[in-house]
Amino acid sequence: MMHAQLRSHIIRLLNTDMRLDGRKLTEYRQPITVEYGAIRTAEGSARVKIGETEVLVGIKVEIGEPYPDNPDEGTIIVGAELLPLSNPDFELGPPSIQAVELARVVDRGIRESKAVNFKKLCIKAGEKVWLILIDICPMNDAGNLFDAASLAALAALKDARFPAVENDKIDYKKKTDQKLPLERYPLAITVCKIGDKFIVDPDTEEEKAIDARLTVASTEDGHLCALQKGEDFPLTINEISQMIDIGMEKAKELRKFL
């Protein structure tokens, strides 16, 4: 819940093309950093910082049975926990609905774009496939976890290598040189509407003032692969169109950090 005066202050500032911290409306915080291989025990990992927001993503792989309707495909499973370490408002306990939404939105962007070639995760059709387990852990939530998590997940996929398999068992201590079959680079950009203006990369205060948000996941060749509208207020079709344009343009910019 945001104090009415602060919200109208934000809107007044936006009308002068400025935000609380002096950024332009579609400007990301700086610096944005991507660190590959931050976690030795993971098969793939990345640490992403956008301003003071920091997210760790780690990938573990397992061998499992395929789903009966896709016997020659492996899959990804994305999890997210809003760690109380990262934000005074996060509570201990099972994943909140916000954590579930975060995981599922990041999942959709990767899954629907076929970024990871599931067929190439097949070891033996009908019996054994690779399962790619992606876990999102915020370390400091200063706003915009969605975009940081999406960038970190993609970077972790790029960093990941298959472990050695001996006698049908994974030897996690031995990593091979074999990369994951990552074929496309989808990125989620969350565009937020406050009053009648659009911003990206909201910080902690701005997040409280958002009327509606649209998370737009797109690939490097300009295809949309996932959408998620959030928050309490509606969007017109025209607004959606504008937000998608912003989302796709910003994805191009952010992709450069990979």
């Binding site: 976690i39 025990t41 005074p88 400091n140």
Partner: protein, 236 residues
């Protein structure tokens, strides 16, 4: 058969390389990072802050809560299912007990001090790393503390007492092994955490405590330096 040389060629009284940093989580009231070998622990402190529900409040003093958690990708084997386990609950409990003796919580009646310990990477000695990080984070949060708390796992491998038992030594085959995590208040030498897992004679245990004490004084120096560095930039 005697354990003549440590698997990684360390001295018997030597810890793995240690790194410590304070103030790593901006949103927290206090925070720290402690790395020993390949075990990495982050700790964030929020508090003193409001405690809900009200029936948990203690009108005579603040309450300390600790939560120890391993991230899903932190194990060198399979993924760790999130949500904690009986093991992590027990570690959370002994962590509270390890830190309580130094804290002066009477200044904060009816409130809570929350400590969250997260480990992105573990390779033996994780509960001790968590306690080292937590103690720095509590100091960083400006809480009243008589002392810091330093912790390390001392071990027994065959006929030797070794300081900072690592992953390979924990599971050394064919000989008696013991894992003895110890936490101590450095300025008084008093023990606030002691557990033992394995097989030792009393003499070995006493030797472990003495060796542990020495190593813990070195760890305390690292913690001190990290705290001073944050506020001065350069340790004088």
């Amino acid at each position: 058969m005697t354990y003549k040389q440590r698997i990684d060629n360390r001295g018997f009284d030597e810890t793995r390389p240690i790194e410590a940093k304070v103030g790593v989580i901006p949103r927290a009231d206090g925070s720290a990072y402690f790395k020993i070998g390949n075990t990495v622990a982050f700790a964030a402190v929020y508090g003193p802050r409001n405690l809900h529900p009200k029936f948990l409040q203690d009108p005579t003093k603040g309450i300390l809560r600790c939560n120890y958690n391993m991230m899903p990708f932190s194990s060198s084997g399979e993924r760790v299912r999130p949500g904690g386990s009986r093991r992590s609950k027990e570690i959370s409990l002994v962590t509270v007990k390890a830190l309580l003796p130094v804290l002066d919580l009477q200044e904060y009646p009816n409130s809570v001090v929350d400590v969250f310990i997260e480990l992105p990477q573990t390779e033996a000695g994780s509960r001790c790393a968590g306690i080292c990080a937590a103690s720095m984070a509590l100091a960083d949060a400006g809480l009243l503390m008589k002392d810091l708390v330093a912790a390390v796992s001392v071990g027994r491998v065959d006929d030797k007492i070794v300081v900072d038992l690592d992953y390979n030594e924990e599971s050394y085959p064919g000989v008696p092994v013991a894992d003895i995590p110890i936490a101590m208040m450095p300025s008084s030498g008093k023990v606030t955490l002691l557990q033992m897992d394995g097989e030792v004679t009393k003499e070995m245990l006493m030797e472990a405590l003495e060796k542990g004490k020495k190593a813990l004084m070195d760890i305390y120096e690292v913690q001190r330096k990290a705290l001073k560095e944050k506020y001065h930039g350069v340790d004088e």
